[in-house]
Assembly symmetry: C2
């Protein structure tokens, strides 16, 4: 069999060039299947295939009141405070239980299949304990009716990634600030569409805008969700390769993160992607002390040998 | 008559030393009345005495979720987002119409007297137009049942002076941040007490804290409101002096800002303070392009000559 290696370093900034590279080299890169190792294992020495990823779409908000920062004594009470307005606006995104409150947000969500729920329940991992331990949050919190893993892998979110305005330094400045900003991203699941979700969000936010301020909204980068069949011809081959490498039953999962380029592999190259990653739950992706264990470097070599053999035989 | 001049440069950082200086020099500084020119005129060439000031008290909030910033794809949906929690918490401070929603917040508020409302209605100034023009806010916004000037001069507020958390730079970072902060100040009116208001606020915020996060609250600096009788012996003298200086009827107003030291003059020196300032509505206090007109420098000299004569005769 022939192997093409594609190496890119722009995934974290949205792979702005890889998509064009694929289009320009469509014929040269034609293939049966794509293998990507940018996902994780559910636990050490537990082989894992991710057959689904959430999508993501961004939306930036700016709420403006007075044209300059005002003295909060001289004007406070007579004009709206953009920070209070932004807080009220952002509070309208969720209900008290953490469910997204944007009308229509869940309309296109494909319900979790029974076989998935069943399979995930049997995984040799305690999702609650893992997330509590890795995040060190005071407690778990999320949409009712779903387990922790289901919430991360198969449910959409509206997340505030940043917000700010006014005086954030030491001490006090009694300003009634001119504006507030917030950065949102929505994680998407089948069959939500980024454009449609952003439209719903914009409509909801505009409708819930408090009096006395104006709202500016700018759509950000987006990437679609991804789902593939882990039990197709190549998925089965990958499962056999992982079984050989780790001598342990393969976990079939989805992941909460997004790898937008895998949709381009499908659309431009017509190939499905096998997501066989080796990051551990405590890898601290995107955080201080990000790490990768040496034993998984070795396992990765053996996994790739095995997967080439199995795919060649498939 | 004898005149003592007290000059201090720490008013904007809470006059940390002036209070002690007054105590240490109580006998030397003993006086009949104090004159302070740190207030404003309601319009150009319109003599103004401020007989009331709002007080102020600060409260800083920190909402913490996970112990580190998390990847919002890998954890989003399973742990609470401190920014969303802070937004919900801050949104609980007011109702939709801008009235403070902290139970008991208005309990000690002295209702506006009929003579004040009547007097303010007759002032030769359009409060709505002035505030709209100076703030350049899209529209006015505030507690129902009160005019713009009443809202600023005689009603208490809960103002967010700053809030922030997560990623606020250019572009996107898909973090689920560890914490959010906010800085609040409450403007106080007779007969609210700073300590009691902070206690009510803390109780309300703790009760409204969303699930999945912890809340830390630190009380900030405070200064009491001030009210004096503009028609007492010295107030009448000041009114005559202003009438002489500007040849125009004197406006008797309150102000929305705070000058905490005037309460110390009362308590330590046993003297009331006449607030006769010359700043104009467009002076942009604490903002870029702060200004003071030269004609008011001249008027200030004449006003002080006249007030010394009138007080000596009083």
């Amino acid at each position: 069999m022939n192997v093409d290696l594609v190496v890119e370093g722009e995934e974290e900034i949205g792979s702005a060039n890889l998509s064009n590279f694929l289009k320009e080299n469509r014929e040269r890169l034609k293939c049966d299947v794509v293998l990507v190792s940018d996902t994780g294992m559910i636990a050490p020495r537990t082989p894992t295939i991710s057959y689904g990823l959430r999508g993501v779409v961004g939306l930036e908000l700016k709420v403006t009141g007075p044209k300059i920062d005002l003295h909060s004594g001289i004007y406070g009470g007579a004009v709206a405070n953009p920070l209070a307005a932004m807080a009220r606006l952002l509070a309208s995104l969720h209900d008290r239980d953490g469910r997204v409150a944007i009308p229509g947000f869940y309309d296109e969500v494909e319900p979790l299949q029974d076989w998935e729920r069943e399979m995930w329940r049997k995984l040799p991992v305690d999702g609650d304990a893992t997330v509590l331990n890795e995040s060190r949050a005071p407690e778990l919190f999320g949409e009712k009716g779903f387990s922790t893993l289901e919430r991360i892998w198969a449910r959409p979110t509206a997340e505030i990634n940043g917000m700010g305005g006014g005086y954030q330094g030491k001490g006090t400045k009694t300003v009634l600030p001119s504006y507030a900003m917030a950065k949102l991203t929505f994680r998407l699941v089948p069959n939500q569409k980024g454009d449609a979700i952003v439209d719903l969000a914009k409509k909801h936010l505009q409708k819930n805008l408090p009096l006395g301020v104006t709202l500016e909204m700018i759509s950000g980068h987006s990437g679609p969700w991804y789902m593939t069949d882990p039990n197709n011809q190549f998925g089965k081959a990958a499962q056999r390769a992982l079984q050989t490498t780790f001598s342990k039953e393969v976990a079939l999962i989805r992941e909460g993160g997004s790898i937008p380029i895998v949709s381009d592999f499908r659309q431009i190259l017509g190939a499905e992607t096998l997501l066989m990653g080796l990051a551990l739950p405590d890898c601290r992706a995107h955080s201080p002390n990000e790490n990768f264990p040496l034993e998984n470097l070795d396992a990765g070599i053996r996994m790739n040998q095995a997967v080439l053999q199995e795919l060649a035989a498939a």
